[in-house]
Symmetry: D2
Subunit: 361 residues, 4 copies
């Protein structure tokens, strides 16, 4: 339980940080989709460690190997198996933490749940696991692209440095032009500087990733429990270090009056639109065709290069200190992960929506 995501377009992952390999099985991708493997590789590059001075300097090439499900360049409708070997697997000595519970990591909770744990680099609880998601998301994105649907995430806040403009006033493609993945170059520079100074303090800091999904058709969502935003929220909250999710007007919306918040419906030419979009493209848990947008809050990375108090498996007081190479701020590398999970949700709900009306069967 817990290693699968999705209903029709469904992924199942396995793998620990320092095991032999990570893997993902992708079910339900319709047959006849041309797969661009280079695109998958490019997405992996966006997530991989060591890509800039503000990310961990650990080296993982994150090479994917596709084992099934694609024949003569196209999906066949059968499950796509992908494996990503852990290059870094044996390079490290974990004896200094093998019986210690690192604060705000999952060491203690895994130990309590399972009675034992793979202590190497966090094992299954490591964010390394998200590499498998990005590979799967890259296939979902290719499916969505055939329908003109795009998913774009970007960093909108680091610490208390936040983007001031709404996303509509920004050129989101600029996000990929700097190492922090913020679409406003000036703010990006400040964010990079902040992360760098935090890193020098041997500390870490949190941030926010925003995401915009464009061109989703109206009608995606499965009320009452599997509302589109509920599934998006779950998808985001399943990413390591995430503490919050909001869509549309979000937490700020609670301060508004209904008369301000309601999105008036109009017809422009043949198209039904809303004048504002406080709904974030989703009403009653179903997409209405407007942009879907949401924010995801990431806490500061738990591994810091400072001494911290904790206990070990025997219940003795110990000191824990981060070693090696870690991210001072997770959000730049989280951008492709957020996109991947969003793409998986939309792909899944697109398929689910195909059987809603008798007249479409």
């Amino acid at each position: 339980m817990g290693n699968s995501f999705g209903k029709l377009f469904k992924i199942t992952t396995f793998g620990e940080s320092h095991g032999v390999a990570l893997g993902v099985t992708i079910e339900g991708c319709p047959a006849g989709l041309k797969i661009d493997e280079d695109f998958i590789r490019a997405e992996m590059q966006r997530r991989k460690p060591g890509q800039s001075k503000i990310t961990t300097q650990r080296k993982e090439e994150d090479e994917i190997e596709i084992l099934s499900g694609i024949f003569e360049g196209q999906t066949t409708g059968t499950p796509i198996g992908i494996v990503i070997r852990n290059a870094d697997q044996k390079s490290k000595d974990y004896s200094h933490i093998s019986d210690k519970f690192r604060p705000s990591h999952a060491d203690y909770t895994y130990f309590e749940k399972y009675g034992l744990r793979d202590y190497r680099g966090g094992g299954r609880s490591s964010a390394r696991e998200t590499a498998a998601r990005v590979a799967a998301g890259a296939i979902a994105k290719q499916l969505l692209a055939t329908k003109g649907i795009s998913v774009q995430a970007f960093v909108s806040q680091v610490g208390d440095l936040a983007l001031k403009k709404p996303y509509q006033e920004l050129d989101l493609h600029k996000a990929e032009e700097n190492i922090v993945r913020c679409p406003d170059p000036e703010t990006a520079d400040q964010m990079i500087e902040l992360i760098d100074s935090v890193r020098k303090d041997r500390d870490t800091i949190g941030g926010i990733v925003s995401c915009v999904i464009k061109n989703t058709p109206a009608g995606l969502g499965e009320p009452v429990f599997d509302r589109l935003h509920a599934e998006l929220g779950k998808a985001m909250l399943s990413i390591n270090a995430v503490k919050g999710f909001e869509f549309g007007s979000g937490f700020e919306g609670v301060k508004m009056r209904g008369s301000q918040h309601n999105d008036a419906i109009v017809k422009e030419g043949d198209q039904i639109k809303t004048l504002t979009n406080h709904s974030g493209g989703i009403q009653g848990g179903i997409s209405n065709g407007e942009d879907i947008y949401f924010k995801v809050a990431f806490k500061p990375v738990a591994t810091i290069m400072q001494d911290q108090d904790s206990i070990n498996e025997a219940g003795e007081k110990v000191t824990v200190s981060g070693k090696g190479r870690h991210d001072p701020c997770v959000v730049p590398r989280a951008v492709p992960i957020v996109e991947a999970m969003a793409a998986l949700v939309i792909a899944d709900y697109l398929l689910l929506s195909k059987t809603n009306k008798l007249r479409d069967l």
Copy 2:
């Protein structure tokens, strides 16, 4: 798809706002649980309309009828079927909105998804559906009570009126002593006044419900996708009018440094504890035994007593105006719904956790 929630302790609901009845089937409740039907009824009272001057004056008695699964006062392990008849069912004329799309309601999206819709009071998209959840949650709460686990929600913000103290400094039981369900009497009075003034403006306003779960054992959660907070988040986002979810340090946590945010682990007597609880009781998606706490953002109710621009099914411009009896602010009645969904998640994950270790089998 979309009408079930949970994996082992699972509910499936049906019913429209103005259909014959709502219903819920509860699967997986262990056998031998003594059921207090009066407690279920009391929970229904907390959610029902017409309970105070700041809620809708609509009358629904929300009488439950238990059809199966309980024998001689105890659960038998078979599914518990509950039906709640709609008293108000035929009392209203909907012709004035039968072909109109109300702004920020689900009228348009349901119509796009299904090609037709039950326009009476929002049909399935109405928050009336949550009555079935509260009935099921009342059974989950009774299961949790046998393990000493409590779930308590309260209103922590209405508009921009927010509780200033952290929950630890409040007597949460006071929440039930006022009609807005805020545990600080002074703030409660202000909130009530605010909601009342908004109502007089023929408008609505949003708010935040906070929730604290105490005495959860360590080890609940199903990484990587079904992390405990991801499922809680989905549960909350599946409630009508919810726009955001955060747990522990939440969105504010992004501003913190790792050295501030990390929760030091200590042993107090026999018990392993954390000195702070920015983690919100969940690490790596698994409970650590500390209080689980989270916040849920509710938008202002979409039905306002004012004229609004919209279109009808034919695409013609129309004016829509709320009629009848509606809530000016949803959060007081949302408190038991948040609790019900939280209780369902914890009950489900408690069962799931029973097969984690070979030595427990």
Copy 3:
């Protein structure tokens, strides 16, 4: 777990033999299907007790009440809730068996599983539960009818009295013209006589129900685990008293050589056909467009009007004897149940098949 069936077109049932009511929630029925309630009622009549001299004389009117999901005569895409009240609920005294385990009933196994049990008429283990399936199946049948798909079952064997002709040589509609539901009038008479004599012996006897599904499109089935026949098999084996399932050539097919068993593929006009149909309309777990046919074996009913040795909950030796009104042979009433489950599987797989090809999206 265990009270739901199906993936997209999904049912969830509740209810005990002598509880207040049975119920079923039907999810995933596409919107816009016109529902003929009289047809549902007619199907209920085919299953209900007391319909002939060779069935139990118990009286249950099996009146359905539709609580949701249908509006102005059409499905809306939201779940359809149906309740069937137990008229016979309080008429009986169960003290004579309340602590006894009836041989070959589920008394002992429910008691072991749950630690307690509803002893009234078998509780949830009673075949009365199938009434809810027949109601749901009647809706699935109406969906299939819009695609020209028909599902017809009939009794092909009682004891060792078996139909000699293959189904292709029989007029299957004649099955409904006699009380045993065998399409060959002469064999039907013999079967009726046999059942009647068994009844007079205060005994019971087994039988076989065969089923033919016509006009299924090619392409239904979800390999590798959810092969179409695997799901049909599970559906049938989930019916009370079923001991076996075979499709196409079945158990007899094991004696054949590949050269005899293989179905040659030919083109007739525009249509691809097979010359024989040992495959039973399913190859590799996917329908090929030929008739799907299968057989379901039912054991003799466990309740007999004779004294039997058993033990009670205290482990003491006791004598158990059937009382009241029971079926001497279950197959005549099982015919509509087999059809209902088959219709549910085909409806579900029809929906699932709609997202297989990119070009269909």
Copy 4:
């Protein structure tokens, strides 16, 4: 959809006959189970091709590689990823069948379902896929062994050559002492001779595999739809070439009277037993602690070394003839597959049964 099996102890497989590799992800195996990799390898040997003169002479070493989920020799509770590379992958020319539909294979149905297909050796529809199941089953067996539960299958019929004795009178361990896996040496010799003669005729023949599960505790099963035998039946029917499933008295039981068929319940010492076991160890869908036994019918292999009429993708008449190395009879190699699937079902239901009673929580 369709590539996962199980609810708590769950497997997800991928892989085509002639793709890069097969794989399986095993979720829900409790933590702390010592894994004997040699046992997994031994099970793979029992299924692999080329093991005797009556199986295909194809060479596949079926080497497993465990990629995750096991640490220091024990399961950690995280998913176990296993990959099996296809050694034979590129050795063959498929141009002679690339556009032809082989009779009674899945060529036509996959093509209809997906619009294209991987024609190399049947792709996903090949029985090669079952290698992944055997690997997973070998882990389930090790879990069951800790509870004393054993699963043993054997060949009970080839063509019309059937074992005459009931399994209770046979030493089932002798099944592994001959190449056809029949526990009666004399019948085994006849079966081997029959298969060999069929092979020389360039033909194939069907058979039956029987299976006995011993020491299952009472209480396993999830009525009403997920009855233990329904899930076992589905598991078996999901294996390639299976046409039928029966348990306990099976199809023969339909001829019996209730007075003969009912299993009298007795207490022997502390243990509750039944005098006969027509129920096959399952009553009301729940195990009663007696031996669970069932039979699985396999059709003759579709690939024969003879010319057969068929059509190609263009609808033209063609001749198809088997080439290369194929099994003349599938049952000897099916024995470990039947055991694997049975072990997976029992492991899953064992876990599911752990939350039935409040007093066990």
